[in-house]
């Protein structure tokens, strides 16, 4: 049986909402959650039995800034994701072994230029990096935006597939209402012409392999793997 993971859940400021999110995710059938938190001191006191993976998101504006951020956070987080805002940042992130996930967000006209290209896909596939799609970006998009976004994503997915770059799908939820069931995320991927089996891989095997790889990379002194039993 598949184990599902939502690799991108944004931690809300209210602890009760966070607890609600974990409960909802558990009800939906998730076993693991990647929680965006820029603090590595995430509470480990939670009897809900969800495997929570500490995730950091970097928003560098230059390759230099990315490198300094990566050395600053060294071995403190289970998952390191980089939001690529320029071509130079995307290239640097794609070739750095410390980066687990590449994200492309923001303005669509800029993204047409900055988005995943053949070179980045080759580099990222070589370093074990993954390309991430956030469901929230699609869910919250207006009718006009969604058409352009789907076209862009289809192009990026085709590039990623050509270079065997793993693709992952996460919710990007910041509230319990924004969470979606694994089957719902898989159904959303139908909009990108992704078959059901490949879609399930994007929310189970692909992200889980990143977590396992990152676990092996981290020092044993740091809670075994940057994973905390909550």
């Amino acid at each position: 049986m598949r184990e599902f993971i939502d690799l991108r859940v944004r931690k809300p400021s209210e602890p009760t909402e966070f607890e609600r999110m974990i409960l909802t995710a558990k009800e939906m059938g998730y076993r693991h959650l990647g929680v965006v938190s820029n603090s590595d001191n995430m509470s480990s006191e939670n009897p809900l039995g969800m495997d929570v993976i500490n995730r950091v998101e970097l928003f560098p504006t230059s390759p230099g800034e990315l490198l300094s951020s990566l050395s600053r956070i060294k071995n403190r987080f289970g998952i390191v994701a980089v939001s690529c805002s320029t071509k130079a940042v995307a290239r640097q992130a794609a070739k750095d072994h410390r980066v687990d996930v590449l994200m492309f967000q923001g303005d669509l006209s800029e993204r047409k230029i900055i988005g995943l290209d053949e070179q980045e896909a080759t580099l990222a596939a070589g370093t074990g990096c993954s390309f991430e799609i956030s469901a929230i970006e699609l869910i919250s998009a207006s009718s006009a935006r969604i058409t352009k976004l789907l076209t862009l994503l289809k192009k990026e997915i085709a590039i990623a597939r050509r270079h065997d770059l793993p693709i992952i799908m996460s919710s990007g939820a910041a509230t319990a209402l924004e969470l979606r069931e694994p089957r719902a995320l898989s159904a959303i991927l139908d909009l990108l012409d992704i078959g059901e089996e490949s879609a399930f891989d994007m929310i189970s095997t692909n992200p889980l392999s990143i977590v396992d790889r990152s676990r092996r990379k981290l020092k044993p002194s740091l809670n075994g793997a940057g994973r905390r039993r909550l």
């Binding site: 869910i139 209402l177 924004e178 969470l179 898989s186 159904a187 139908d190």
Partner: protein, 106 residues
């Protein structure tokens, strides 16, 4: 044994929102989303119809064509706002018959 020309799927769902909506309003919201995502052809191929909806419990059953199950799930998942408020539609069980849905309850 005769084979049905059109195979149906019955989807049990729950509306997570603070609003109290009628059966027609919910069906409109779902139909509009399907139309926005899949166009007239795709939305009509799904043949969506509301079987039942309990506006107090915010739970219902919607029917779609077997071939459009994934598309219907996508339309339901893509609903994030209802009348300007944050909302979500969660899918529970799916079955080929209403009897089957009820049997899963036992």
């Amino acid at each position: 044994m005769p084979v049905r020309a059109v195979r149906r799927r019955y989807i049990e769902f729950r509306v997570d929102a603070d609003l109290k909506l009628t059966e027609e309003e919910i069906l409109d919201i779902i139909n509009n989303k399907a139309l926005e995502l899949y166009g007239v052809k795709g939305a009509s191929a799904a043949s969506l119809s509301m079987i039942s909806y309990d506006s107090d419990g915010r739970k219902g059953i919607i029917r779609c064509n077997h071939d459009s199950l994934r598309r219907t799930r996508a339309a339901l998942a893509m609903i994030s706002m209802i009348s300007g408020s944050s909302a979500a539609i969660r899918v529970g069980k799916v079955s080929g018959t209403i009897k089957g849905l009820k049997a899963q309850d036992c």
